[in-house]
Symmetry: C2
DNA sequence: TGGATTTACTGAACACCATTCAGTATATTT
DNA sequence: AAATATACTGAATGGTGTTCAGTAAATCCA
């Protein structure tokens, strides 16, 4: 009986169609300004249809977040390739910062917008986990070889991630204007910060 | 002619009444869930009246942000009192982290919610500037005495603030759940991070 | 094959939202 | 006392997320 398989497949295609349109519009106009009606319009279905595939707008956001984290993971896999774990850590940091600078709307979706994960804690496993473990692995390898000042693995991950996220998110919220007066591109400044920071945590 | 003075005063009182109600409701229900109608109701005026005092909801948010930064500044003044600039830097960091943990909704308003400053750059001078210069001063004093590893003042401020903001905001968005498994209170963990980080940037 | 049933979708309706503005009532000035 | 300026109202406009009775097509079962 191939019918139910086809139905399943069609359901998946429809979900993908919705999330693809949603992602596109979230990035172009921002999450808040994208309405269910707009999304429905753009895929030429009625608003009600979207609710047959997603419980609410938050669930749609959650799905798009998942894709965004996949993109970050891809960027990690592509750029953080060095055999030397210390060098790789720097690649990770710079990839992270670049990702945030180049995809500000995406970064917003992933980290800044209040997402449904606040509600349904354990239902879904965290979207960001896989990218995060990429960092944890790298840190673990550095620490195994005694290359970092940290004693505790969790503290290491916490501090490194906080620094990277802090650099990106302060910048995205324009708080850096307070200090960065000139018109120089922000990227070299943040890269310098990454380099200096990583130097400061080496033994 | 005392009439125009009284009018001025009454206008100020009305603005304060609105922002006070708005702040209260933003903190209780969040910015998104607080409507102009609700605020108007709570102060027993019509919605239209609020628009006689504030251009739109964003301007109201901006005003509330200003108050929030004042609160942070007060916390700094109260807690960061040590003569030793290094010790004071630690007090600043812990005050910052505590502030974020104890007032999550306020912290959201200040840093995370997309605020009108994105639009009217130069019109208002930045709300957070004064609190920020408190940190800059402290860092300057440390560096003047050669106590920190930084060579550039801007990089110092950027990195320290990013770390503090990263610690707080990752936590507020529950991203730390990925790594902090246990039920232990989050505060000691973040304090430890602050201590370790500040140790790592000392000469 | 033909009637019953399930599935997919619609779009109007509901209860909200931010914002505007003609109208009104009070206070001030002339 | 009349004219003007000020402060406020609340209905109206054009949006929002979400629901749900109704419809039409696809599938199932006799």
């Amino acid at each position: 009986m191939g019918i139910s398989e086809r139905k399943e497949r069609e359901k998946g295609e429809m979900k993908k169609m919705i999330t693809t349109a949603a992602m596109k519009m979230f990035l172009e106009d921002g999450y808040a300004k994208t309405s269910i009606r707009n999304i429905a319009d753009s895929i030429e279905y009625s608003p009600g249809t979207i609710y047959l595939y997603y419980k609410d707008k938050d669930e749609l956001l959650y799905e798009v977040q998942g894709q965004a984290f996949l993109q970050l993971l891809e960027a990690f896999k592509k750029n953080a390739t060095s055999k030397d774990p210390i060098k790789r850590l720097e690649q990770l940091g710079k990839t992270y910062v670049s990702f945030g600078l180049e995809n500000p709307e995406l970064y917003d979706l992933m980290f800044i917008i209040r997402a449904p994960m606040n509600v349904d804690d354990e239902l879904h496993k965290d979207n960001g986990a896989e990218s995060f473990y990429y960092l944890v692995d790298c840190l673990g390898e550095c620490m195994k070889n005694g290359l970092l000042i940290f004693k505790d693995h969790m503290q290491a991950a916490l501090q490194v991630w906080s620094m990277m996220h802090g650099l990106v998110s302060l910048n995205l919220r324009c708080r850096l204007k307070v200090m960065v007066m000139g018109e120089e591109s922000i990227q070299p400044i943040l890269f310098k910060a990454v380099e200096e920071y990583l130097d400061s945590i080496r033994v």
